[in-house]
Subunit: 402 residues, 4 copies
């Protein structure tokens, strides 16, 4: 008789949602409660402060929405911009593409710098465009920090320097959905105006909690635009309603209690591991993955090492091999969830996410599984070579700095 | 030494969020998984069909958003209407007020019929307004089915009749956040065009999943308005992106897995109890609560029996007694969460929610607690009278019809 | 269609197993782990010390068995006594009866003082029997502290005084299964030699963890008897194997991890509330229950107030009324679990357990339910009278002392 | 700052307790309930029948104890034997040793056949000993099916044939703690009289539920010995009390509810996968492990392939290498829990458990981790060789037969 149950755990190596630590699962297991009670602020008020840690911010203001990261993209744009406003951005993957699509559908005038997929935002081109914008018509620069589709990380510090070098007052919006909580992020240093995060990546929670950290400058812009007739600002994602209620510890509408309790615990996890250790660990696991790819004789989507993402590696299947078949077989035969190639790179790449709550042996299991699926699909790689290379690297490089 | 832990359970009698059944809690305890896997549609596809049951619909289309009910208000308005469109509605409590406020902020031209708090929508006035609108400039009628603030239920069937009697083509939007899944709701019969629900009331889930059921007529309106320059439709709450992905079992952005698994189990709970039994139970518990109020010699906010809500009872504190003090004392001394009076009725009423997963003895505990808090606050009621009246009624009226 | 699901929570008012606090539930939700790891003692070692708190002991030694309380009865007897040894005890309910039955089946010579059910151990009779035992053939006195079957608490301090007055060296074994963690228990002061507890009562855990606290004197007796040919001591419940492993933080066989994690959290709960507050709360809830019984015009099984148990009240149904019918109806109609009469009092009493994690309104719900079931079964009580009396008492007597 | 939290999951590869499937975890998350209610037998009665599946029995009787497997050893011996009775058994590892120790401490006359560690029970020697026992003084033959300490499985079918060949009436007791639910076990075919299982291995539950399956012959023996003065039978582990209550769906003392609900779900898991698939999977994972060991150039404790256990592999560290150091380093550096060598083989072997809910990639992660720990400890193995060999085998051998 055919088995109708698959034994063991699913090995989840998509670049989000990520594995939820057991203690975070436990923390979310809460009964309903009155979100207007006198006890409630004891839970919520510290969240508004503590969450800033993962953004590298003390100056910013945290707003929490029952929404996915897509909603937070919208929140950033609609609270600060007006219909027809010019924004500058670069496209180098599916997520930068989708954010551009949103901006256009919201009625913004989007200046798109199309970059080769496998690269990221080019600060020098951004500087050039801003310099050309003598009238300061560009109101904001939008950058996807970590392009999940291609496994590429852009240099936000360099983008900030480019804006400064151009002497341009545009706001800086950064999609940090797949970086914040996993990759170094320094909102205050980089003077990011809207930093956007979702719960289901570095925060190690289920999807459903969108987080934005807003700079004082962006807050002021939002206030200034409040009366304008042509502004985009709608209601659900409006900051003003939250800013009225949050200081007391409340929300303008019913929050998702499990996610708030989960956020508290996830932040405690990150604090206990130490954010610098968390960043280091993601780097080590990312590098171990790249060692495996090199041992297989394959290439990553990222064109140069400087673009390498430490949360996800997009691997190019050899000519003539269908990457989608590798992914499907990994899932059905080995219970391994790999990320698919999207849009331009669909069928050409498979992705190993190495983001969130993860350690060496889990990753090595996934590397072994990817290798087995490749072999089963006719890719000529040396059996065991990926694990050999990755494990040798991991033996030399502990996950924790200290 | 002072106790820093309160023994026993919190008695939650706010009109939402409601108690989560244990089996729904269990169902939500899931590891992360790839929401793009081949297995995922086996979970999601049935949800799009099964959820229609609680809306009383077979013709409608379900769309699920990671959002609270407020977001679904916005989804209804922004997918179908354009800036400056006229909508007709009535205000008789805090939630009808907030929906009006949203509509105005979105740039709609809102015709408000202000009704006495403690009553609801007046079909005859709606008919009159629609008859007067010869040019059919009114694009939609917005009605809050169950006004949680005052414990009042409006007659949606009568509103439908009024629209028909006026021969008016306006869309009918109904906020069923605190009614759907608890009170009889017949979307198809009433020809509701957008019915709005949230997860944290009759669906017995945490907040965070917003549900809309859209009629074919509203869908067509949305498609028609898609190209218009002045439309409100934004991106996160846009139906079109969902309608593209949902038929395959997928979503345009990462859904909240625990809530999807929880929804499946909650629907199973409702089905096993039987929706007619669920509606009957809410009626019996509502009536028992009103029997207690009568025995106390107090009045409800609802002006006449026909306005009585079976999900929440708003009770007027006697002259000179601060209802807020009753609520606060109930919480701090007896671990009982009652609903506060909002806006116009703040300090004047306290509310007992009797919605969601509840039975007789839980309610009697809450009635006892409300009575004790009133007595402690100087309200002259006969000790035990509330429970005596409610329990006598409950002995005669089983929760289940069959 | 008949409902196949019962709405709302079950109201659990048997005298154990008791309600598990949410945070204890969460604490037990743990993955498997190696119970021989270097990390494991960090969990277990504090348990051996902290658990002594609920026994009122610093001198004793805690041993934890994967077993129910029945096993701990056996552990006390078999580690210290030999076949044919004389033990003295009193019988006044089902649990004292069962312990006697065990002692007899183990081959002990049990001297039984049969007391009227509704009373407890009579210290003066114990003293008399011990005085008569000039040769000190009686090796142990066995007392059930709280006889759950009849709702009677015996005075252990007085039993100790009786033993001392007789100048007798017998060991003192106390079954504290339904008292420890709920009623004042002072093992060191009373010089109890084996105090027996189970996880499913005052410790607010599922059944499955048996706890014994052993005095230095009993430990010495156990060692002394180790070589004897006629000793009862077997292997699973042998103390020696545990005493060898426990100091390092390990166990002689695989422990139940969820229960160990749960115990840690339950002890934290008791500490945070404060044991004196816990004892006080049980007294207040017990007295409130008795006020209701009096208001109903009924009698408890306990013959005099001094025998009243603060963890369970056994209520005599009026002549001609089948108590079993009241219990069954309460369960099937109102989802209320009451305790049945056992053995001698089967069909004559129903029991309301008020032990463990409980507060006022939960109890009032149960009192209301018991009243409704009585009324439905033809018992003439005044509707609402039980809740009126109990709630009036509870308004005057806060659960917390401080 | 040093990290105080270890990221990711612990990789549990001790031979028990084993990983608990998520759905079994969920099933155990239950509130307390009255174990004497009219609803309770609906849970329990099917367990007494369904559990027999994993024993390969329809004739046997299941008894469930709140206890670990050690208690069930005692239950088998004490219900059927009397002080001084002769039993025949073989010793070839720590667990067979401990069972012998128990039998001796219980006062039995134990005939021990000491076998080389790394082998198991020798049927021909058992036959010889039984033939020599002309007077049929040997009352039982005790065999540990799977000796966890050395990774050796004995052939129970051959033991049965040996007993039959000798024409001896002795009872056959089999410790199946680390085999039942994982390795083929055919109680009825092998005419096993007491088969002993624990919850924490193939049943994929926490420890705390001991299970015995008793043959009609053993039941009859127990009844026959009930009146004997010299019998060992005590109370907690006595079958008679259970046999009186179980048919109605109840227990003689409070059972552990989470474990009963968990058992129901675990049996459902095994049924859905299919027991033949479960056995096959354990064989494939065991063989994959052995392929890795061979690729490393190391030897297992099992002396010949016929002794190989499919639930645990004990690996001999090379001369001069401390196996304990490999285990400790694997745990502290790679969060991998390996089994230690016990007693005779302490410091000489490390063990990889491959029992319970497990799949290929989890095992490959553990193999990689063991290899890394060996390399870090100076063992000269080829990096990646273990995973290469195991994964090549796994590619050719699917986990499921069908």
């Amino acid at each position: 008789m055919a088995a109708t149950r698959r034994p063991g755990r699913n090995h989840l190596f998509v670049p989000g949602p990520t594995n939820i630590p057991d203690r975070v699962q436990r923390a979310m297991l809460v009964p309903s409660e009155d979100h207007r009670s006198v006890d409630f602020p004891a839970l919520t008020k510290p969240l508004f402060t503590d969450t800033k840690m993962v953004f590298g911010s003390t100056d910013g203001t945290i707003i929490l929405f029952p929404a996915s990261g897509t909603g937070i993209w919208e929140s950033a744009l609609t609270n600060t911009l007006a219909r027809g406003d010019k924004v500058l951005t670069a496209r180098y993957g599916q997520f930068s593409h989708l954010w551009i699509d949103m901006a256009q559908r919201l009625g913004l005038d989007v200046i798109v710098q199309d970059e080769e997929w496998g690269t990221g935002a080019h600060p020098e081109k951004i500087e050039e465009a801003l310099r050309a914008d003598k009238g300061h018509e560009i109101k904001a620069v939008m950058v996807v920090h970590n392009e999940t589709a291609t496994g590429v990380t852009s240099d936000i510090g360099a983008v900030r320097k480019a804006i400064d070098a151009a002497g341009h007052p545009a706001l800086l919006f950064v999609d940090g959905v797949s970086s914040i909580g996993s990759l170094p992020f320094y909102m205050d240093d980089w003077r990011v105006d809207c930093a956007i995060a979702g719960s289901q990546k570095g925060l190690m929670l289920p999807a459903g909690l969108g987080v934005i950290c807003v700079s004082p400058k962006a807050l002021k812009t939002a206030e200034g635009s409040a009366g304008r007739n042509d502004r985009l600002g709608h209601v659900y994602f409006a900051w003003a309603d939250h800013l009225k209620q949050n200081p007391g510890g409340y929300f303008p509408y019913t929050p998702s209690l499990p996610l708030l309790y989960g956020l508290r615990e996830a932040l405690a996890c990150l604090k206990e591991e130490g954010l610098e250790n968390v960043y280091h660990r993601h780097h080590v696991l990312g590098e171990a993955t790249r060692q495996a790819v090199a041992a297989w004789g394959l290439k990553t989507c990222a064109k140069e090492p400087k673009w390498n993402s430490d949360t996800v590696t997009a691997i190019l299947a050899p000519e003539g091999v269908d990457a989608a078949a590798i992914i499907k077989h990994a899932y059905t035969r080995y219970n391994l969830a790999l990320g698919a190639g999207l849009s331009q790179v669909a069928g050409k790449v498979f992705r190993i996410g190495h983001v969130g709550d993860l350690n060496e042996l889990s990753l090595l299991g996934a590397i072994a599984g990817a290798e087995m699926s490749m072999l089963d699909n006719g890719v000529k790689v040396q059996p065991g070579s990926g694990v050999a290379a990755a494990s040798s690297y991991l033996r030399e490089n502990p996950l924790s700095k200290s």
